[in-house]
């Protein structure tokens, strides 16, 4: 078991580290996207639109779509909540698509907002589950996640005293400290780690393990949708008879009715087969405020009408029905994607994810430190160079992936705006910096590689608000003054992490110095650097 834990952990640890880090960052993908798009600041004075103004927007959107896309298969209309926001219209037909943003009160087509073309926070999520490498990357992540399951179970067996060790931390003692750090961070986050790895695999359950599904439903493409519809069979329709039917109601009339049924502002309107005899219209409420609902599964409710005669076709079930079949998967997904509990839960996931990253990294570092003290001679004559490579990979896995992530934000601000396929270049910056970090770690001694990369990371994190102020003229104080908590929060978090990294680098330096004084000879080589 000890052998399995060591090698399974070492081989997968580097990738896992990057996957954990980007996963933790993805929790905040919306603020990251917002920051990266760098929309101009609104200048304040935004006021909520009244119901009549919103309905006026809907009327204008319908007018616009019936002129520009009369035979589209689907219309989608996004209604604004505040002044200054446009009515988003979208239509898709066989000829192509229509997409525009309209002024809510005049119906004029608004100019495209000056947003930076970017993948934003989604990049971290795509990397997290596919390493940006398509199907192959997706399977690699699956394999590595299974290795993590194995490493977790074998780790609990190996570090049998893990729960006692939780109360033991002996800092500044080289190998012992790394073992304690590894144990303490693992014990602290163990339930979270099991949960997050398992729900991560289970989120893609029928993709990773399609055999039970194929065995019962057949191999055809339709198998999954048949399975899903059987699973979801919840009594949703229940069109109540006590709702008065407004005969031949128009879109605006139906919207008013939908709003009173949902008891929430309607945010999106979906018209299927507009102008057709069998047209239906669906009104959706906005994304629920997950902090307020106190529920695991938060879905936006909707009401559907027959668009021709105004007949109510579907209502949200009240109270929502639940069963093993219909709720298990949504709960698993919600657990992994933190679509519950609001910002508090997101922060908890972020911090636990970072501690998990540290746990994985400290395991690999522990291996390197241990072998430096006493070589295992695993690769015969090549053992020493292999240890060098492991050291370099450790640096690249932790410091390097963090550097790549912050460099991605720098790329967003520094790459020329006119660059073609700009969002792709931002992702290339991410990978280039990661590769450079590995190269740097291979060329420098281990101790210097850690020191230099941690210092660079701290500087980049602390300098982010400055970069933003220089390149876009927006900065932390402006965001705070505008009450833009998400963009201000991103910069503050980066600065906080920068300080944390700087403190770590300083501790690293200090402990090496004190070791050096006590054992002047041992400190000479890169090999016995005390801590790392």
């Amino acid at each position: 078991m000890s052998w399995l834990h060591t090698w399974c952990g070492l081989v997968c640890g580097w990738l896992l580290c990057a996957i954990f880090l980007t996963g933790s960052i993805s929790v905040f993908r919306e603020p990251i996207t917002l920051w990266m798009q760098a929309a101009p600041l609104e200048g304040g004075g935004q006021q909520p639109l009244s119901l009549n103004e919103r309905l006026q927007g809907l009327r204008l959107a319908e007018l616009h779509l019936s002129k520009t896309a009369p035979d589209a298969g689907i219309w989608r209309i996004g209604l604004p909540l505040q002044t200054g926001e446009g009515v988003k219209v979208f239509a898709r037909s066989q000829d192509g698509k229509v997409q525009a943003s309209l002024h809510a009160l005049t119906g004029q087509v608004l100019p495209e907002p000056a947003l930076r073309q970017t993948e934003g926070g989604r990049h971290f999520m795509s990397f997290h589950y596919s390493l940006q490498g398509g199907i192959a990357g997706f399977w690699v992540v699956g394999l590595v996640s299974m290795c993590m399951m194995v490493a977790l179970v074998s780790g609990v067996i190996v570090h049998r005293r893990i729960f006692q060790d939780f109360f033991t931390f002996r800092p500044g003692k080289g190998q012992r400290s790394w073992l304690d750090a590894h144990n303490a961070s693992a014990a602290l986050t163990l339930p979270f780690l099991f949960m997050i790895v398992y729900t991560g695999l289970a989120h893609f359950y029928t993709s990773y393990m399609p055999w039970p599904l194929q065995s019962l439903y057949g191999q055809e493409r339709s198998a999954y949708s048949r399975y899903e519809s059987e699973l979801k069979a919840r009594p949703e329709v229940t069109a109540a008879s006590d709702v008065p039917v407004i005969a031949g109601a128009d879109l605006v009339g139906l919207a008013q009715q939908a709003q009173s049924l949902l008891a929430q502002p309607v945010m999106e309107v979906l018209v299927q087969r507009p102008g057709h005899g069998r047209a239906t219209v669906r009104f959706m409420e906005g994304k629920p405020d997950t902090a307020a609902t106190r529920q695991m599964v938060n879905v936006a409710n909707s009401v559907t009408f027959d668009a021709v005669d105004g007949q109510l076709l579907q209502l949200p079930a009240n109270p929502p029905s639940s069963s093993f079949a219909s709720d298990t998967y949504p709960v698993i997904s919600a657990l992994h994607l933190v679509t519950f509990g609001g910002w508090t839960m997101k922060w908890l996931y972020f911090v636990l994810g970072l501690i998990g990253t540290a746990m994985i990294a400290s395991g690999s570092i522990l291996f390197a430190v241990k072998r430096r003290a006493k070589s295992g001679n695993e690769w015969g004559l090549a053992t020493h160079s292999m240890y060098r490579c492991i050291d370099a990979l450790n640096v690249a896995a932790l410091a390097g992936s963090a550097l790549a992530s912050i460099a991605y934000l720098y790329g967003n601000r520094l790459l020329p705006l006119a660059l073609e396929l700009r969002s792709g270049w931002e992702i290339r910056v991410f990978f280039a910096v990661w590769a450079l970090s590995l190269l740097h770690a291979l060329l420098r001694t281990t101790y210097k590689a850690w020191r230099e990369q941690l210092c660079a990371l701290a500087l980049l994190c602390l300098g982010l608000p400055l970069l933003n102020a220089i390149t876009t003229g927006q900065h932390l104080l402006l965001y705070l003054a505008q009450g833009d908590g998400r963009r201000a929060g991103l910069e503050l978090t980066c600065m906080g992490l920068g300080l944390l990294v700087a403190w770590g680098a300083w501790r690293h330096e200090k402990s090496r110095r004190s070791k050096g004084v006590r054992h002047p000879r041992a400190a000479r080589g890169a090999i016995s650097g005390g801590l790392i």
Binding site: M149, V150, T206, M209, S215, Y217, E230, T328
Partner: protein, 105 residues
Amino acid sequence: MKAAAMTQAQTRRYRWAVLLRVLMATLGGYALTALTCAVLAHALVAVGVMQRAPAVLLSTLLSFVIYTVVALWVFHVRSLPRVAAVMAGWAAVMAVALQALKGMA
């Protein structure tokens, strides 16, 4: 076994044994898990505990736990031939069970 204490021939044999074990745990473990979970899904329906959609759901969700246990077991058992024999035997039993259950349905 410590690598330092081995002769070259022993080292080579040890490395092949490790590779074989890794393949048995990953590929063999996956195949075995897939087969077992398919049988489990059919069995849940046949016994009448569940409809077929929740049966697929439950067995697929359990697959990741089963896979973990199989992989750990492959590394836990000392004798490699024994691992191979048990895996082959289990796969045969599951294949027969799958055919029988499919015949019933």
